[in-house]
Subunit: 333 residues, 2 copies
Amino acid sequence: MPEIRSNPVTGDWVIIATERARRPEEFTQKRHKAVLPPLAPECPFCPGNEAQTPAEQFRVAAPGGGWLVRSVPNRYAALTPEGTVERHVNGFRTCLDGIGLHEVILETPAHNLTMALLPLSQLEQVLQTYRHRFRAFYKDRRIEHVILFKNYGEAAGTSLIHPHSQIVGMPVLPSQLRARLEEALRHWGNVGECLYCRTLDEELRDGTRVIAQNASFAAFVPYAALSPFHIWFFPKRHSADFGDVTDNQLADLAAVLREVLLRLYVGLEDPDYNFVIRSLSPQEGAVKYFHWYISLIPRVTKSAGFELGTGMFINTALPERSAEFLRGVALPA
Amino acid sequence: MPEIRSNPVTGDWVIIATERARRPEEFTQKRHKAVLPPLAPECPFCPGNEAQTPAEQFRVAAPGGGWLVRSVPNRYAALTPEGTVERHVNGFRTCLDGIGLHEVILETPAHNLTMALLPLSQLEQVLQTYRHRFRAFYKDRRIEHVILFKNYGEAAGTSLIHPHSQIVGMPVLPSQLRARLEEALRHWGNVGECLYCRTLDEELRDGTRVIAQNASFAAFVPYAALSPFHIWFFPKRHSADFGDVTDNQLADLAAVLREVLLRLYVGLEDPDYNFVIRSLSPQEGAVKYFHWYISLIPRVTKSAGFELGTGMFINTALPERSAEFLRGVALPA
């Protein structure tokens, strides 16, 4: 008998289709991946080609010269920096100029690495860069919302190989954030607690869906996971603002993120995935009812008309089994 | 300069990335499709193999024997018919048994046809079957919501070739429907009109995004279309209930649907697509603020971390140009 579970954080129902469920190993990608060189002369993100990107906005310098991490404007930006945020209301229609900020964060000079295989210190530098750009974007007062995300692999929507993430600052509040805020505010209003803190407490107490944790962060498969190996990373200290994360917390986040990415890399044979950081702005950091977090979705299944038409998902993996499988992956020493 | 448009029906913001925009022809699929036989002996949906499907629930008989359309339970159903709809609340968690109805509607005996190429009378029989099964599903009082959808092609999430649609009845209201109802109710409460009737009026008056229409239906690219060639089909007579559609209206719907599918088939070289019918139940048919409709999304682009993390979309085609292109496609006589 399948089970329908409610996700209190999003208000979504998810069908856990246990009869259709596949064994975790069956989600491995088994793709034949090309062997890549550490430096690709034609890659605009490789060292030596720095002039091919728009003007660098931030870099973490390498001790001996060169760079460890760079952030550069996206040459094919979805939004452009010049303009105003006046809304044009024309009868029934509302639009505004597509102003905003859009940068690409280069996670390493090495063309052939992947985030899962970065040294811990390097991953920490990437997260430091995330925080720096996140804070910087919000200094532009036209920006209402900033989203950090990573598309890894073709199924996740990227064809660029050089390891990179993206950050977009936009002049409107996306409807998905609005919906999350409404759910969270309702819970806070009714129960007087942060919906996310409560979710984390429940997950840690239960333990069956937890994959990894340390002093500052926990990673777990949500009770009503949308898809196989859907993973949430929650900071243990309540904050609505990612920009508020301390250096110590970032080091802890790097450790948990790396462990989980490595478990996915080994256990599912380097799957394509997306992750996003959902956060309010530094100005709203003290909000009691919202909690920033990271959501990661390996692209091991496809959504279709049912999902498009309902916003509901059919998950063919039992969340508890997904978590158990990832906990059991033997990591290289 | 890109433009950010608001979709009043969904509350979503969409970035129309005009600088990234490609010419409509560039969205053609240019795939090499296999030539298929009209009858495939190994296909469980082909005539002669009727015993391979679960017990048929409905058929439109062919005048000379055999069938024109069949509806059969899905062998790999997401939900199962036996059980109760009691919700189990366990502290913070809510779940219920995965009960529900799930059928596959076989649109033609011909293995190698596609909906765009069905004769008009056959497409009408398919829509009659949709209405019949839609009404029948709601007779089961455990069913809270019914969704009809079609996944066409691999990018749209199906690997089954024989032309088919699906219908799912579920015991919960999906969050996406709830969000649509909330937006519609707010508008009705504030302005005293159906948000969908108003949208249709505006589109017909403006005309630049309309693709096809007749006495009962209009097909148009929404002002804030989520993706290239995203198309809405609205009934002109207000009703919240698809099951309430008359025979004459169904004939008109078949004509508009066929014309649009044919324009996509010819203009974009047989693209993969999904469509869904969004409707309330017959019991709620008299609701003044909601309006049933069909949403069709050709799978010509991919969504990634940005869309997952915000619910916002980046559309690389100008909706007016998509509509103009489809209107201009020369159809076979």
